[in-house]
Symmetry: none
Subunit: 381 residues, 2 copies
């Protein structure tokens, strides 16, 4: 017997109240069994599920209905699969594997703010170092403003540095910007960003996989990064040292097969090292502005433009004599070697030899002693 939508919501809230965000095993079980079966299995003390004993205790003391009601009174909603507002992009996490022991489709997302999560449209994650340079924050703000001006939503965390600059850039032009937190959406972290977070809750969206009240913890940042990457069409790293958490978000974007981008900077700046490494190792496309980002994340340019292959001119590889013979081979009909030799002004035996070489290389086709340009040769320069 399957739960109704509201029963399922209570079950998902209950699971959200006990499950660590991005616990890959629980996310997988939820996908496999459905939340109701998972809930039953966890709540049954007779189960062999190792987490069950702890969980049963936590479940018996949690009251999902009350939690949901309390959240709603504070302007916080619980968005889950099947809701109109459910952002379909996060479903891709089902196939994006596990990084740092976090992964999977979230059981639901807690959200504040007027922007519906399914209406982010073309959106870019703008992430990077907390200890950014002024070059980094200026670049982040400029690119975010240009993205917002073009109608793209910005997605980021709520940290100092690049995250903050990205939000402020988007807000400066009245754009849509979304903060994804590692703690509950009712909490303020860092404390200095109270005003920024309140502004986002009034004009944009503040989202978390972690239940209201939950504290920001290291593992929750790692889980949070995958939500940022999954909500956005592509992820841009503006500045990152070599061990920056933003690189984890970039890896999620790559796992999700979404465009991963990085802004270059001075080779003497430690804050650009992570970006340079990403670009050098093929983990990100180099971008210098919003135009590059939009090209990569827009519908028309969904996939990153493949590097233009150097125009290969196969004829350039031929010797002069070979080319002389090739030029004498008719395109639209066949000819005997004798006729080609006459046209080329080259002796018959050499022409026969060269025709053989040209055939080897795919330029001509010979059938029953008659020769013509290959289809391929007719098309290549």
């Amino acid at each position: 017997m399957s739960a109704t939508n509201e029963e399922e919501r209570l079950i998902r809230v209950a699971l959200s109240l006990m499950a660590e965000p991005g616990d890959p095993k629980l996310c997988e079980l939820a996908a496999e069994l459905g939340p109701e079966q998972l809930y039953r299995r966890l709540a049954d003390p007779a189960t062999d599920e190792p987490r069950a004993v702890d969980v049963a205790t936590r479940l018996s003391t949690s009251d999902p209905g009350r939690a949901l009601e309390q959240a709603q009174r504070r302007g916080i909603r619980f968005v889950m699969p099947g809701d109109t507002e459910w952002p379909s992009g996060v479903e891709d996490l089902a196939h994006a594997g596990v990084l740092s022991d976090r992964g999977g489709v979230p059981l639901g997302l807690w959200a504040r703010g007027p922007v519906p999560l399914h209406e982010l449209g073309v959106s870019a994650a703008v992430v990077g170092a907390r200890s950014a340079t002024s070059y980094g924050t200026t670049s982040a703000a400029r690119i975010a403003a240009d993205l917002a001006r073009a109608g793209a939503a910005v997605v980021s965390g709520a940290a100092f540095g690049i995250d903050e600059a990205g939000h402020r850039g988007a807000l400066s032009v009245g754009g849509i910007t979304v903060a994804v937190l590692a703690c509950g959406v009712d909490r303020v972290y860092p404390a200095a960003h109270r005003q920024l977070l309140n502004h986002l809750a009034d004009h944009g969206a503040v989202i978390s996989e972690a239940a209201p009240g939950w504290a920001p913890m290291r593992v929750r940042f790692l889980a949070r990064n995958r939500i940022i990457a999954a909500l956005a069409r592509g992820t841009l790293v503006v500045e990152a040292a070599t061990r920056s958490g933003a690189l984890n978000t970039a890896r999620w974007a790559t796992q999700l097969n979404r465009p991963t981008m990085a802004v270059p900077g001075s080779v003497t700046s430690a804050s650009s090292e992570g970006c340079h490494r990403l670009i050098r190792d093929g983990g990100a496309c180099l971008v210098t502005g919003a135009d590059d980002v939009l090209e990569l994340i827009s519908d028309s340019g969904r996939l990153p433009p493949q590097p233009e292959p150097e125009p290969s001119r196969p004829r350039d590889r031929l010797s002069l004599r070979e080319r002389q013979v090739l030029d004498a081979v008719p395109a639209a009909r066949t000819a005997r070697a004798e006729s080609i030799a006459r046209t080329a002004g080259i002796g018959l035996s050499e022409v026969v030899h060269l025709l053989g070489r040209l055939q080897e290389q795919g330029f001509v086709d010979g059938l029953d002693g008659r020769w013509c340009l290959s289809r391929w040769a007719r098309r290549v320069p």
Copy 2:
């Protein structure tokens, strides 16, 4: 009857005195006919070679023996294929095509300075904008010094900006550095670089494809760039605006299938735009220092990591029916449509239609009602 080595030298000098550096047609004829035949053909007023009339006049007034002797008195040698000193890398220009109407293996190289051209070993071209920023010149000097310290030779032009900084960086640690000029090696261009060029002629090498006395002209810079790229194991662009000549050198490195590298910089600096574009479009690897360069140009990393081409399987684009027909076309002999239809188990009229489509796409060739796989289709997956 073939010329002795010294006869060939005089012939090559004679050709060098009349040929524009990197004239692709003359380089090709020299490779095809050998310099002696080319010389005879050009010198014979009865030939049908269109250049011959001009050239015969020029040849009759040139005295290669005297030119060589004069050069030698001024410490200038003429290095040519077959000489121990001939740098084998330039031979790759035979297969590197033509850019901006310049190309081909040089007939010879004029050289000053104690460094033998075949002993450059692991070497890197360090090139870039004349109007470089201090970030660019500092980066170029630092990377060149680190390359030289690691035993790698630096190759560049002799312009202000990045070229100069590269030479100075290598010289600052007593490294080997080589200037390739667009004018004769006895000329000083730019004039302010008299001291630098004299220093290079005393401690490194100054090289040109252009004969002594020849003036620097635009087309000679384009020809010169290919020599820089061909002498070095890889080419590094440190700073370049979008229309910088250094990008031409980078393209030569790519044509030569050697590592092409670029240093990133601020996205607000016009002097880095060309570098960023190269990296973004896959035309260069991002490098931040000499270690990255050495990794790419050393023997262990001889070839640049090619951007993995999307495995192109032209057959995947075919419809199921087209593939059925294609599978029924014999590879090693021709067949009539009736026989192909029987093998494919598809009606004749549809087979004839599909064979036409397959021919359009280059998979099959039809001649006189008989069909076979095209050479190309036999080779593609």
